[in-house]
């Protein structure tokens, strides 16, 4: 008599998370290719690199020319959000760098273009999170939008949205009020002075991390000329930038929560272990 046995599903992780993350950092999609997810890798590559290329086209590759002469070091662009997409950043630096040795006029779409190259960096960061998470899952399994990487992306776009997606409503409301409130307050205090990458390259990089609440006002009313002294302009600039940097912390919180939900670990795991050992002792 034939005995029918069901092959147990592999519980081995799909790959090494660090390798998947590093590969994705250098080339969007490469980490997923390593994990055997060819179709996802191709789509990710086309979307993330496509956004960077579109940004390069619109800005004429002049994004790094916003940097003042004295700041144009070899590693200066490493602090820009574009650093999230290392391969594209290196391509950008190699082919365009800091431009010609004489002044040139920026194209009219330079702000939108440099915003897109920066956004490509952030999209690749979300992709790196996805690769890290996918590498820890058993081979052949995926979580789709249930991956914490999606929540990370939502948190970048609108602070608090990732928490809301994870069902943490109170935290979502508080994070939204504090970060979006701080960006808005900083922008009002600076009278919109902060809404220009050309004017404040590095502060803009910080503020960019707050996502749409910082980017939409810039798209529709940024880069205005300053015609008078703004008393608390610099304070507003710092406040908006700090708000963006704090959003990085909330993105880490969202990702950590998502991983703990899937794999356990951290305080939650410690508590359950303590509960189990207490039960054993009691028995």
């Amino acid at each position: 008599m034939a005995i029918l046995t069901k092959t147990p599903k592999s519980t081995r992780p799909a790959g090494e998370p660090t390798v998947a993350v590093l590969l994705t950092w250098f080339m969007p999609g490469a980490g997923h290719l390593y994990l055997g997810r060819t179709r996802f890798a191709l789509v990710a590559f086309v979307v993330v690199q496509g956004i960077y290329l579109l940004g390069l086209k619109l800005s004429g590759g002049m994004g790094f020319e916003f940097l003042q002469e004295e700041l144009r070091g070899a590693f200066a662009p490493a602090l820009a959000p574009e650093a999230g997409n290392l391969g594209a950043l290196l391509y950008h630096l190699k082919n365009y760098g800091y431009g010609m040795p004489y002044p040139r006029e920026f194209p009219s779409t330079v702000a939108l273009g440099s915003m897109l190259t920066a956004a490509s960096g952030m999209f690749n960061v979300a992709l790196m999170c996805h690769a890290h998470f996918a590498a820890r899952l058993p081979r052949g399994e995926s979580r789709g939008f249930g991956s914490p990487a999606f929540a990370v992306l939502l948190t970048w776009l609108v602070p608090g949205l990732g928490h809301l997606f994870q069902g943490r409503r109170l935290r979502a409301v508080l994070v939204f009020c504090m970060i979006v409130g701080l960006v808005t307050f900083g922008t009002i205090l600076a009278e919109g002075l902060n809404l220009s990458r050309e004017r404040h390259y590095y502060y803009w990089g910080g503020q960019f991390m707050a996502g749409l609440p910082a980017l939409l006002p810039e798209l529709f009313g940024g880069g205005k000329a300053v015609s008078s002294h703004i008393p608390y302009g610099e304070a507003g600039l710092v406040i908006a930038s700090v708000a963006g940097l704090l959003n990085i912390q909330t993105m880490l919180d969202v990702y950590g929560f998502g991983e703990r939900q899937e794999f356990g670990g951290g305080a939650a795991a410690d508590e359950s272990k303590a509960g189990a050992s207490a039960q054993e002792t009691g028995a």
Partner: protein, 65 residues
């Protein structure tokens, strides 16, 4: 003087947000994060106060021209 008060208020505001975010990052439970907020804020402000005192002392001594 008025300018100093405004700057202190701005610092207080941004400190509150920084501390709240760090509480959320450290504590998984919202209740625990909110409960620890006053203690954390006090520590942060006292730490910043000590740092300011040190910087002023250095400015008045070692770095004075």
């Amino acid at each position: 003087m008025n300018d100093l008060v405004i700057h202190l208020c701005l610092f207080g505001l941004i400190s509150a947000v920084i501390v709240m975010m760090s509480a959320f990052f450290t504590e998984t439970e919202d209740g625990a994060a909110l409960k620890s907020f006053p203690r954390r804020l006090l520590h942060f402000l006292v730490g910043c106060g000590i740092l300011t005192g040190l910087m002023l002392a250095v400015e008045a001594t070692l770095a004075s021209v």
